[in-house]
Symmetry: C2
Subunit: 331 residues, 2 copies
């Protein structure tokens, strides 16, 4: 039998109904599949895009070591003294010297003539003497951890090895040796200080809300985050030649919602300022230095329209070091 | 036109093909949907089922306060002394006294006659004098945080307030005041000790791998986890009247994959043992006490077929307390 035209046959009708039915089913299943896929967690967590930057080298060393970034200006004698010390710190991957001595030759010849050295040391010549030069994303930076150190600060290898192990437990925070705090006042204006300022509203003891980056471990992802900040923030640092660490603490606090820093109490930390032949004594001696930092606090609150810094009173020391019974008590 | 029998018409054939096709599509979509659902994260995270137990009371106090669980045996005079101290600790929600004095009346009348008291104190009469009685899930326990305290230990309110704030930052670990460690030996047999034992294979300083629960904050979810452990574990504690805290440290380490404890260095911790009139001096004076703990370590490794304890050298103190400049350094 043949049908040349549409036949209203049970089979045909069944076919069409089935077609409609299955189309609807397919459509619904696709919807469901789409919904389920939307519910799947993002493999790339939007909260922490910067901190997942893959180190260029996938070697174990790049994941289990750190890069020392030391910015230097007008204290090459101190720098070289410190390099001899820091080049031998355990877990150090490389040293990046940020050479702010514009127009002056780097001491590379002398450095090489006194080789070999335990780790590579790279001198990054800068064209402008900027405080924020050390916050650039240097191509030589292969590790996730960055140890930032001022060029007049000497910290023992023991302290650094311990602080690095602590940083690995708090990789999204600034783990360092110099705590500072801000206080808010009844006028709503913020002020910057150290332990001599009383933190209003807290119980016993003191608090800190920043850890200075001139002696601290920080995740390299935060350097990228810094570069993405509004021009006003970079301009503030350039204007004051100061406050880069306040900015970094703001960034970390905003990013994590936690206190920006974890303070590790140093056993042996020294400031070598007085030992320099250059006569140069560092920015923090300027009369306006602390006032500038208070100024920066308020400017940043204005730029970000919030005060993200959070207080902490956690002080971390190394169990059983240097005194192997430093945890003993009268019990 | 009618077809009484199977007509090989294009429409009919189309219908059947479409039926087959859509069946296949539907089947594939169902497979895909099933696969996607399997990929979805469990809303009930298998890793932490116990720690999400909702406190019975949803009040702010139940989330921001803790319950003191104090087990007592043969030292009621010390208990009462300590209750007067602990009842006034900030953020304390309730006290649960685990009354291991089987057959002896609880001092409830006296307690009530000396009221009112700052917080409710509940006396839980036990029918058997067991060390692990304090690890039961008491219905009166409404908070996520439990402070477990031995009935001869006095810790200052400052220490407790600080340690509680630390626990809130490390809620899945035992945050407490008494660190201990295990060491492994060349024979593979483990031994238990304190700081006088050297941890093999580590650099400078010491390590701890346990925090004793007799002076520590712990998440109430771990009590539930404890109850679910194999009978052999409960039997071990009953056999030794010891090692309940070693078991808890095993549980936490297994559960988190991290060191089980966070050590907070106490400023003011005292053992009141010598002050009791009962003449009872506590289990840890027994000659075999420490040997039992080594024994327990190896038994537990055997039961769990692993050594989950991890070392830590983090020692936490309170910034600026008691000495408001306790973080200062020579810089």
């Amino acid at each position: 039998m043949k049908c040349h035209h549409i036949c209203k046959l049970p089979g045909r009708v069944m076919g069409i109904r089935l077609l409609r039915f299955s189309s609807v089913v397919i459509f619904l299943l696709l919807l469901m599949a789409g919904a389920l896929m939307a519910l799947l967690p993002n493999t790339k967590d939007d909260k922490m895009p910067n901190l997942r930057r893959e180190p260029k080298s996938q070697s174990q060393s790049a994941l289990d070591s750190f890069t020392l970034v030391m910015q230097t200006y007008n204290r090459t004698d101190l720098l070289l003294k410190l390099l001899n010390h820091y080049q031998a710190i355990p877990h150090l991957h490389k040293v990046v010297v940020v050479w702010n001595n514009v127009g002056e030759k780097i001491p590379e010849e002398m450095w090489n003539s006194l080789g070999p050295h335990p780790v590579p040391v790279v001198f990054k010549v800068q064209t402008v003497n900027r405080m924020r030069n050390r916050l650039q994303i240097f191509p030589e930076l292969e590790t996730q951890a960055v140890l930032m150190m001022d060029d007049d600060t000497l910290i023992s290898a023991y302290d650094l090895a311990f602080a690095f192990s602590v940083w690995k437990q708090f990789p999204d925070q600034i783990v360092g040796f110099v705590p500072r705090k801000h206080v808010s006042t009844s006028s709503g204006i913020y002020s910057y200080g150290s332990f001599e300022l009383q933190t209003p509203g807290f119980g016993n003891g003191d608090q800190y809300s920043m850890v200075l980056i001139g002696a601290a471990f920080i995740h390299s992802g935060y350097l990228e985050l810094f570069q993405k900040q509004p021009d006003a923030v970079h301009a503030l640092i350039d204007e004051t030649q100061n406050c880069d660490d306040i900015v970094m603490n703001f960034l970390v606090a905003k990013h994590t919602g936690k206190p920006s820093g974890v303070f590790v109490k140093p056993v042996d930390i020294r400031n070598l300022e007085k030992e320099t032949n250059s006569g140069y004594s560092g920015m923090w001696h300027r009369a306006e230095h602390l006032l500038q930092r208070s100024y920066c606090l308020n400017k940043l609150v204005n730029i970000y329209n919030s005060m993200p810094l959070k207080y902490s009173n956690i002080m971390i020391s190394q169990f059983g070091f240097p005194n192997y019974a430093n945890h003993k008590n009268k019990m």
